[in-house]
């Protein structure tokens, strides 16, 4: 074997080894439970979506401020509206090194797919990092639509030719579309796309008539004057869009949030749960996370422990009722 060949083998090995070494930083010894190996941070959605971006931001905050003795590695499990991630977490029963970032599919997927055998009350509550908000959006080219009244008039006239783009069947967007259809007597057609960014773009490109995007997804187009919010599904007006009323103001008592929550594997050791609680309290209070919340119009205080579990149970019941109402599941 010549020198060059050795060099290549060496390079290949060195590459692998350095990757392995990076993963085995040592835990320091003083006080309480500490993770002993890299922590898997499961994302219930694909790479590049809102949840994924938030996870990578938290990963960066933890690494930059050296909040954890081990690396936090995001793992995407987007399959089956979170079913893949939920089943994976269920299989990690008793594991102290696996956490997950969840959305509202945390409630809806186990409700819709009983066969998964996932009981979310067995999961370990760590911390709710934020609640994302929703607004009703139209393209700015529609000079004739400046309020929900205008919207209802136009959508009613268009009947089922009115296209509402959203992020998948039975998703949060679908629930909100059903709400609007029922509340205003509309017959909008719901067309599912992959991911909120894509949905936002379909509206900006006039391939859809309206959307119910999160503010963060439409922000770029909104700032460029391409799309505009008509009203928001929040209890109070969002400071970024002062002119958009809430549906509450318009007499429709409908408030809807998407949780952005860190959850631990079922049966996680109590000390480990405490560790992650402290870790994510630091992340929550970091300047970067607070800036991110402000910029993305995220609301909702941090929630942990039993309070978070109670919140889950309450939200699950609300979602159960919504799914029954829209005919997605039987009562």
């Amino acid at each position: 074997m010549g020198i060059t060949k050795r060099a290549i083998l060496g390079l290949t090995c060195a590459f692998g080894m350095s990757a392995a070494l990076a993963g085995s930083a040592l835990a320091d010894a003083h006080g309480g439970w500490k993770p002993k190996k890299p922590v898997e941070f499961v994302v219930m959605a694909g790479k590049g979506g809102g949840a994924d971006k938030a996870v990578r931001l938290m990963q960066a905050i933890i690494a930059e401020d050296k909040l954890a003795p081990v690396p936090i590695t995001p793992v995407n499990k987007p399959g089956g509206s979170g079913a893949e991630a939920l089943v994976y977490m269920k299989g990690k029963n008793g594991d102290n090194h696996t956490i997950m970032f969840t959305l509202n599919s945390f409630y809806t997927t186990p409700l819709r797919q009983k066969a998964l055998g996932v009981d979310i009350t067995t999961f370990t509550p760590v911390m709710r990092m934020a609640e994302d908000t929703f607004c009703l959006w139209v393209n700015s080219d529609r000079k004739d639509i400046n309020s929900v009244d205008d919207f209802v008039k136009e959508a009613k006239a268009a009947g089922n030719k009115w296209i509402m783009a959203g992020t998948g069947k039975n998703s949060e967007d679908n629930l909100l579309t059903d709400f609007l259809n029922t509340a205003y007597g509309l017959d909008m057609k719901y067309v599912p796309y992959k991911g909120g960014g894509k949905v936002a773009k379909e509206l900006a490109g006039n391939n859809a008539n309206s959307t119910v995007n999160n503010p963060s997804e439409q922000l770029g187009f909104y700032e460029a004057g391409k799309t505009k919010p008509l009203a928001c599904f929040t209890p109070e007006r969002i400071s970024l869009f002062k002119d958009a009323p809430t549906f509450k103001e318009l007499g429709k008592d409908f408030v809807y949030f998407m949780q952005r929550t860190v959850v631990g594997a079922p049966g996680m050791n109590g000390d480990a749960a405490k560790y992650y609680n402290e870790l994510f309290t630091k992340v929550f209070n970091s300047e970067k996370w607070q800036t991110y919340r402000k910029k993305k119009a995220l609301v909702g205080p941090a929630l942990a422990g039993d309070a978070l579990m109670d919140y889950w149970k309450k939200e699950r019941d609300i979602h159960k009722k919504m799914l029954i109402d829209m005919g997605a599941i039987k009562g």
Binding site: M1, G2, T4, K5, A7, I8, T12, F15, G46, K47, G48, D52, K53, R56, L57, Q59, A60, A63, E64, P71, P74, V75, K77, P78, G79, G80, S81, A83, E84, V87, Y88, G91, R112, A115, N160, I163, K169, N170, K189, V191, P192, Y193, K194, G195, G197, K198, K201, E202, A204, G205, N206, N207, L219, G220, F221, E223, A224, K226, Y292, K295
Partner: protein, 510 residues
């Protein structure tokens, strides 16, 4: 025009800052190796290194990651050619002819062609990016589901006849690929499909790399074992050498491939700017079209230089192209740009139509660094060719186990699920048997790449159009692409009829 040039000059000032220049060089080199490792690819490389980037300012960070992305496009060709395993999904088309060339003892020719074509594709696309970004961003914006489906149909059409003479075997192969691509979550209804009694490993669908590495990595290795056995343990692979004379001859021959390179560059760039398409369909389409326009289409698959040059030019051009929707629309044009988008959030930058005006430094620094990265990537790549050639001189008995391990890692890395590794081995064996029975495999790989892109687009279009196919012909972009696709698809049939009619009079004369 003048304004663009002055902005670009400002960008070069940013790109030539010592720190940024260093980041470009490190990024290109890292990317080259990341791309060359089967299964690692630019997506995983960028994802792994993302947290490192908060150490430098945002502009430096995106320059570093873009250089990795870029370097990986060059690197992907290396394992495609040398080992027959696509280093990344974007380099699959490169295996079709790169591998046969290597087997004929001409790996140096294939590697040179890949490097030069990548450089050409990269340069043309950055020029297009520099001067035509805003109008093209508009095209990407109005491109809806019907246009996307029309484009995918066009990609399939370019592949008609790719599989060889037996049209039925080609169709069979495409169908297998489509069925495999249907496994997993149905995007429209949200229900899992074909998961075989709730095997959770099928929930995330069948990653394209699992099939590609299975068929081309493991299948190819089994094939080589058999060939080596027949040849008494000798292989032509080790015949490649690098000499000045050979390199000059290689470069001269490459001049003849200019048409394929130019076509690949433009096509790759335009496909790249379309949201969600990315570099993989671009390079596959470029390969198909290169074959269609070639004077010697029979040589494709046997080691045609055009067959290496076209997809390599296209995948680099597409990687530049996919930056456009990322920056201006905030939506990724490829899986790797999805991660870059995540990075922009960490750095506190808001992608969108205003980014070009609000953060001109950032955008133009990135564009200028692409020119610089392109230059360094080709230099580094060419410098490493003798080293890569030396690897091929290793005895097959040593090389084979290394390739096998690389395949397994490559199958495991994207999903971190052992299920996929087993699946890959099964695909490898089935792929080997299919090849023995003379079934073309490329159409299956094409189908598993394009299937998941085409299916939602088709169903969304039909939903919007109330189930009528008229929607594809009532919109200007979609109608023209659709027509082109249909013409291309039936071209072989017309050709067949034409040839027959031409033959008949001759027969009558004789």
């Amino acid at each position: 025009m003048m304004e663009i040039i002055s902005l670009l000059a400002g960008g070069f000032a940013v790109a030539f800052e010592p720190l940024n220049l260093m980041l470009v060089i490190i990024g290109c080199t890292l990317g080259l190796f990341i791309g060359a490792m089967p299964g690692l690819g630019s997506v995983n490389g960028v994802a792994i290194l993302l947290p490192l980037t908060f150490l430098v300012p945002p502009t430096g960070a995106i320059i570093f990651l873009a250089a990795i992305y870029y370097g990986a496009m060059y690197g992907g060709a290396i394992s495609s050619i040398m080992l027959g395993i696509p280093g990344a999904s974007t380099a699959v088309a490169t295996t079709f002819d790169g591998r046969p060339l290597a087997k004929q003892g001409m790996a140096d020719k294939a590697l040179t062609a890949a490097a030069v074509a990548s450089f050409v594709g990269g340069t043309i696309s950055v020029l297009l990016f520099t001067f035509f970004a805003p109008p093209l961003a508009h095209v990407a914006l109005v491109f809806g589901a019907p246009e996307e489906f029309a484009l995918m149909l066009l990609a399939f059409a370019t592949f008609v006849g790719l599989g060889g003479d037996d049209i039925w075997k080609t169709i069979f192969s495409i169908c297998i690929g489509l069925v495999l691509s249907a496994v997993g979550l149905d995007i429209i209804s949200g229900e899992p499909r074909l998961i075989f009694a709730d095997i959770t490993g099928f929930m995330h669908g069948i990653n394209f790399l699992v099939l590609a590495i299975g068929i081309y990595g493991i299948g190819e290795m089994l094939w080589t074992v058999e060939e080596n056995h027949k040849a008494g343990g000798r292989s032509m692979l080790s015949e490649a050498t690098v000499t000045v004379k050979r390199t000059i001859a290689n470069l001269r021959e490459l001049l003849g491939a200019w048409k394929a390179m130019a076509m690949g560059s433009f096509l790759g760039y335009f496909v790249g700017i379309l949201p969600a398409a990315g570099a993989t369909p671009g390079s596959l389409m470029a390969y198909g079209i290169a074959k269609q326009i070639s004077k010697e289409p029979d040589k494709f698959g046997e080691g045609a230089i055009d067959g290496v040059a076209a997809p390599e030019a296209a995948n680099n051009a597409a990687s530049t192209g996919s930056m456009l929707p990322m920056l201006t629309l905030g939506i990724p044009g490829s899986p790797t740009t999805a991660i870059l988008l995540g990075g922009m959030v960490i750095w506190g930058l808001e992608p969108g139509p205003l980014l070009f005006t609000q953060h001109a430094d950032f955008v133009w620094g990135l564009i200028a660094s692409l020119y610089v990265a392109n230059f360094f990537a080709v230099v580094i790549n060419v410098a490493f060719i003798p080293v890569f050639i030396a690897v091929l001189k290793m005895p097959f008995t040593i090389l084979a186990p290394i390739i096998f391990v690389l395949c397994l890692i490559g199958g495991y890395a994207p999903t971190k699920d052992l299920h996929d590794v087993w699946l890959m081995i099964i695909f490898g064996i089935v792929g080997y048997l299919m090849r023995k029975l003379d079934y073309p495999l490329a159409p299956a790989v094409l189908a598993i790449v394009l299937g998941p892109l085409a299916e939602p687009a088709l169903r969304q279009s039909l939903l919007i159009g109330d189930g009528s196919f008229n929607i594809f012909f009532s919109r200007p972009y979609s109608a023209s692409i659709m027509t082109a696709a249909l013409v291309l698809m039936f071209l072989p049939v017309f050709k067949l009829i034409y040839d027959k009619m031409k033959k008949k009079p001759q027969a009558a004369e004789g």
